[in-house]
Symmetry: C2
């Protein structure tokens, strides 16, 4: 699907996106410090299309996931590569020290070749950062559904599922998850994100009857939000929509 090449990793002394900070504090009288990063809160949206009885997800190449896969494969013996169904035999791969200035072309037969681009592609809920001070969470969620997936859905149709903390060790941001029912009539564009902002998002549909199998298939790289929201739907919407329960 994606073609990824000319990969090169460099140290990053000054980033507009990742700004480590250090907080010093006393906890019950003991002096401590912790390195963290400030980040925005976020929203995510489980979209269900009632015309096609499909969930609408986004799929995109995630450089951080790609690098993580490369790291893991590099330190894993080839014969134990990714056999999720055999949990006990999966080698626990350590993250190695940062490699500075690494460079290799995809498929190059070096000692640690780059994985296929697909290794960095993940299925995710439609989501976005809470970075617009004057908009409610619902309005931000609505904009993301429109920009990423092409559905124009009224704010009033966004149902709040719940909220939780993410990345508690590093960012501690709050994520709020919504549910949006859409129909083909709400579809006003192809979605795909903002190409001007470098977004290359593919909109994908997961049929309702395949949802639970999809959720637990570890060969399909996805976020916990996808798994949780599919199960939430299964538990809360199944009286309304028939869903396969053979999992």
């Amino acid at each position: 699907m994606e073609e990824i090449n000319n990969i090169e990793v460099t140290p990053c002394t000054e980033s507009d996106y990742l700004k480590p900070l250090r907080v010093h504090y006393n906890q019950n009288g003991t002096k401590k410090s912790w390195d963290f990063m400030r980040t925005h809160d976020s929203v995510s949206v489980l979209i269900f299309n009632t015309s096609s009885h499909c969930f609408v997800l986004v799929k995109q190449f995630r450089p951080a996931v790609f690098m993580c896969e490369w790291e893991r494969n590099k330190t894993q013996p080839p014969q134990s590569a990714e056999k999720p169904e055999e949990g006990a035999s999966e080698a626990a791969a350590p993250a190695a020290e940062p490699q500075e200035g690494q460079s290799a072309a995809e498929g190059e037969s070096s000692s640690s070749p780059w994985p296929p681009a697909a290794a960095g592609v993940t299925y995710e809920l439609c989501a976005g950062l809470v970075d617009k001070p004057n908009l409610s969470l619902e309005e931000i969620a609505r904009q993301e559904v429109l920009e990423e997936c092409g559905y124009d859905v009224p704010v009033a149709k966004l149902k709040r599922i719940t909220s939780y903390r993410s990345g508690v060790g590093v960012t501690g941001a709050k994520q709020t998850m919504f549910y949006a029912e859409v129909s083909d009539d709400n579809c006003v564009s192809a979605g795909g994100g903002e190409p001007g902002e470098g977004e290359l998002i593919e909109v994908v549909k997961v049929p309702l009857h395949e949802a639970m199998t999809f959720a637990y298939d570890e060969r399909i790289p996805k976020t916990m939000g996808v798994i949780f929201s599919f199960i939430w739907f299964h538990n809360n919407m199944s009286p309304k929509y028939k869903i396969s329960t053979n999992v």
Copy 2:
């Protein structure tokens, strides 16, 4: 519970824990770059105590969460502070630019007072980093259950629930979730983590019949792993253990 004071935030030019890297690549012919951080994969464990019919969670002060709450409160008008049940009225707070050299004591009546320590305390699954090259994921999970929660559970009793990608924008690490049934007979210590490593972990029990209410109560700060795993248990273990379904 926790007493947190003498809080000071400083820039962090050199961190042993957060090392931003930049990957340059071509995606379908377009030159791109992405800032990310290398991190370890991790394991988490849903622990169910069959003697007391309770889930066993860990609770700890998370500096990153605390800072995030401070950030959000600082930019939110006081009257709209944390009303999860009124999602539509919750102001969308932006993360402001990093504040260098901020310093304030807890409760100080400055323009942006520190929140109570409780704002940084989260409920989480027992979890740990995959940073020991010679141990399987199950063995690492077993060690975490012992160190953090004080239960000595054989590796063979760890059931793999599933795996997923976390922090897809920044770290992209893989998390694998396990389920462990324990009894009071397996309890060999109080748990609480490794004080030598600065861990201050409180082991808490959530009774089975309160689990679903706990999961969806947004006033209780928690990770998505807690919510997802409680629901997974509800769906998969409820024939075995009676669980309240009035949610």
